[in-house]
């Protein structure tokens, strides 16, 4: 049985093609989901990819958060379905309340587009079991609203519970609190990060294949289940 992983396309999504390709590279079946869908077509997991859904109007991710497809995503995520939010997808999951905190404009105001080293801080999630804790990976990042913000009490909770999944190494690129690049939900099934693992699955087209482990991890979790 191959794992069926949904990839959502909102108006303005950019990285759904690469996210679907990453799912297929990892041996999963990529199932396209449309923003107006009211059910998840029987998928076992969902990737909310990056881009500029609804032009980032009002606030990055907020309008997508209210799209019809998000109702079943939120419901399934709360019931334990693995969900990965990448970049704009991370912003959407924060707006939806599946992950705490919010992203603001990068300190320095630059749109940052570069290959970025991250440290894997937690391999106990549906999306990171293929990594060793402490491993450093190189994947692209490209955003202008990537500065992770949360209240101090939220940060203390995330740190205390091991819910910081990825941290920037080699300097903080955008002012994110505690150098946070990615976090997870309490149960470890929902993960969000600003950099793009789906762009680093093959050395032919990316800086490394370090991102592929996230998709292998999800396929492992689903096939075992």
């Amino acid at each position: 049985m191959s794992a069926r992983i949904g990839v959502i396309t909102f108006p303005g999504t950019l990285d759904d093609g690469d996210a679907a390709r990453a799912v297929r590279y990892a041996g999963g079946e990529a199932v396209p989901l449309w923003h107006a869908d009211e059910d998840l077509r029987g998928v076992d997991a969902v990737v909310v990819p990056g881009g500029f859904s609804y032009g980032d109007y009002l606030r990055a991710g907020v309008i997508a958060r209210f799209a019809p497809v998000m109702t079943p995503v939120i419901e399934a995520a709360r019931a334990g379905m693995p969900v990965l939010g990448i970049c704009n997808g991370f912003q959407i999951l924060c707006e939806a309340g599946l992950l705490p905190g919010a992203m603001i404009r990068n300190q320095g105001l630059h749109f940052i587009c570069r290959d970025q080293w991250l440290r894997v801080e937690n391999s106990d999630t549906a999306w990171t079991t293929r990594y060793d804790t402490g491993a450093e990976i190189l994947i692209p990042m490209k955003n202008i609203d990537g500065c992770y913000m949360a209240e101090q009490s939220t940060l203390d909770e995330l740190e205390g519970e091991g819910r910081v999944v990825f941290r920037y190494v080699g300097g903080n690129p955008n002012g994110s609190r505690n150098d946070i690049a990615g976090i997870r939900s309490e149960n470890g099934r929902v993960v969000g990060l600003m950099p793009h693992p789906e762009h680093a699955i093959d050395a032919l087209t990316g800086p490394s294949d370090d991102g592929l482990g996230m998709f292998f991890s999800a396929v492992d979790a689903l096939v075992k289940a």
């Binding site: 009002l58 606030r59 907020v62 209210f66 924060c94 707006e95 705490p100 905190g101 919010a102 603001i104 404009r105 990068n106 300190q107 320095g108 105001l109 500065c147 913000m149 949360a150 209240e151 002012g175």
Partner: protein
């Protein structure tokens, strides 16, 4: 019918890089005496009589503003 104004601002403790950039640029343009600029959003909303204050509060808190990073004020303006 009434007009409602919702002003959304970054919380005081949240870094506002856009306001900081505007402050720096104002100095370079030769404007003196400016000690702080913070940038927010201003919404003008036309509502009919069925929209009560509780609904406006919900629109502001759950949609127009993100309580993690922003604060807001709601003002009914006489039509």
């Amino acid at each position: 019918m009434a007009r409602v104004v919702v002003d959304v601002m970054p919380k005081p403790e949240i870094l506002d890089p856009q306001g900081q950039a505007a402050l720096g640029a104002a100095g370079r343009l030769g404007f003196t005496g400016i000690t702080e600029i913070r940038q927010g959003k201003h919404f003008e909303i036309e509502v009919d009589d069925t929209v009560d204050d509780a609904t406006l509060e919900k629109i502001a808190e759950g949609f127009l503003a993100n309580p993690v990073i922003e604060q807001w004020t709601i003002t009914r303006v006489d039509a």
